[in-house]
Symmetry: C2
Subunit: 284 residues, 2 copies
């Protein structure tokens, strides 16, 4: 049976997305929880897992840096699928709403609910946990009178015996997270004419003014639409960056897309082509 | 006396940088610790503080998102100065090196020391704290036998009675953090001919292919060197971004710089010009 890793423990947004993906694809696969994103990606790279589902970007909080950095440093991984997942955050606790003094969650949901927390619990201490599910567990294990609450999924809260204090507390109703299903060899080829996405990571010589402009021109000249540009530190010195380009796959632009990637490769110190892949939506 | 805010408590990297800045400028000012970056920036915006010193980017971990997001949402703040600060991380504890089982720190230093931690303490649990100084305090208050250690500054460790287990554990010796001193009105004008930086934040209509390219072209056409481009979610929907451009101020390019900013403003839904400011270095 195939094995797909995700950021555990049970009850995380990643588990919910992985369960959804398995059901939709109608695949028999074992879901394996990992304690951090770096480890689950490494496990795929070295062949301990067949694939993993990892978050890459949230509509409110932006990029998941560890996913980007690990992708940039690995040559073994390609993107098999993208999943766009509607995120629903709830405040859950053992105590009542007016007893809440400490709020536990992962740093991303804390940031995603920043305005709601400022308006409703400006005084409450925010405590970061490794995941939303771990936050729920910490609240379940907290002493009575401590006033602990967690921002988490309904499943995580229920798993640990918490009740809902406030539903849907994210600052924005269009809160969603993009996940990548990563593997070593894609399980399918994107059918001709189907809409999808391509991801390219490269190290362009940014010390020369205008080098980024020239790269963008290679895409624009061939009518390739770039849906996102992201940069991450090269980790060698301040002011040097690695770039991530999300490119639109549509109609019959496959050849032009590949041509533009080839042209950008010539302008780069190195370039990773992570493939062309389909996009699935689960916004509810 | 003027009041400058920073991310407290005592012993954080931010406090060390603020102490340095005060000494270098030979200014009489009161340093005021705040518990989070959002609050200290708001305090300047509404006039409770004269200025604040906040981290904007680290050479290993990249942008400090909360600083970028708060800057984008505030029209009251300008950059008075940039400080480039060499970061030195140490592992400090009450226990001995081979007893360490839990490692406390802020998420940024944990990420900055990722490779070292993987090599030396792969099994140790990582626990996120609100700051490096809070991590040191949590270690000081931990029970004997718990095996708690903190990644923090020497000052924070000593403040809380910890000793050094390993020095300079950051993955890269060029680990540094860029800070902005923010205020409502700049205290000085950048002297003509002095090298410095300008910061512009804008919302360009990214739904049209090539709009980013056109903006970059406005800078390139006038010979303005862009040292950094960063994007953050607009927080309204997935796939819409706000852009941050760092621009080089040098020689006599002030007029050309202002002209290019004017041209980009015409291509933007909105644009914040955060000023031209000097850069100070404290790399040790």
């Amino acid at each position: 049976m195939k094995r797909m890793g995700f950021l555990g423990p049970l009850g995380t947004h990643s588990e919910a997305a992985a369960l959804y993906l398995r059901e939709k694809l109608n695949e028999e696969s074992e879901l394996v929880p990992y304690s951090d994103i770096y480890s689950v990606m490494q496990a795929v790279a070295v062949g301990k897992l067949d694939s993993c589902l990892v978050p890459i970007e949230n509509s409110l909080e932006g990029s998941v840096n560890i996913t980007l950095d690990t992708l940039a440093r690995s040559e073994a991984l390609v993107v098999n699928r993208e999943l766009i997942w509607g995120v629903h955050n709830h405040l859950m606790a053992k105590c009542s709403a007016d007893e809440v003094k400490k709020i536990y969650s992962h740093s991303q949901p804390i940031a995603q609910c920043r305005d709601w927390l400022e308006a409703n619990y400006p005084q409450a201490e925010r405590i970061e946990a490794a995941s939303t599910a771990q936050a729920a567990r910490m609240v379940a294990e907290s002493k009575a009178g401590e006033g602990a609450a967690a921002i988490c999924t309904k499943r995580a809260g229920e798993l640990y015996g918490l009740h809902v204090i406030a539903e849907e507390i994210q600052d924005n109703d269009t809160n969603c997270t993009r996940f990548y299903e990563l593997c070593r060899q894609p399980s399918h080829v994107l059918p001709k004419g189907e809409q999808g996405r391509a991801l390219v990571i490269c190290d362009i010589d940014g010390s020369r003014a205008g080098s980024l402009l020239e790269v963008l021109q290679e895409f624009a000249d061939r009518g390739i639409n770039m849906t996102r540009i992201e940069s991450r530190p090269r980790r060698t010195e301040l002011g040097r960056y690695i770039f991530f380009f999300d490119l639109e796959v549509e109609g019959d632009n496959h050849d032009r897309l590949q041509e533009s990637i080839g042209a950008v490769r010539k302008r780069s110190l190195w370039l990773h082509d992570l493939g062309e892949f389909p996009i699935m939506y689960a916004l509810k």
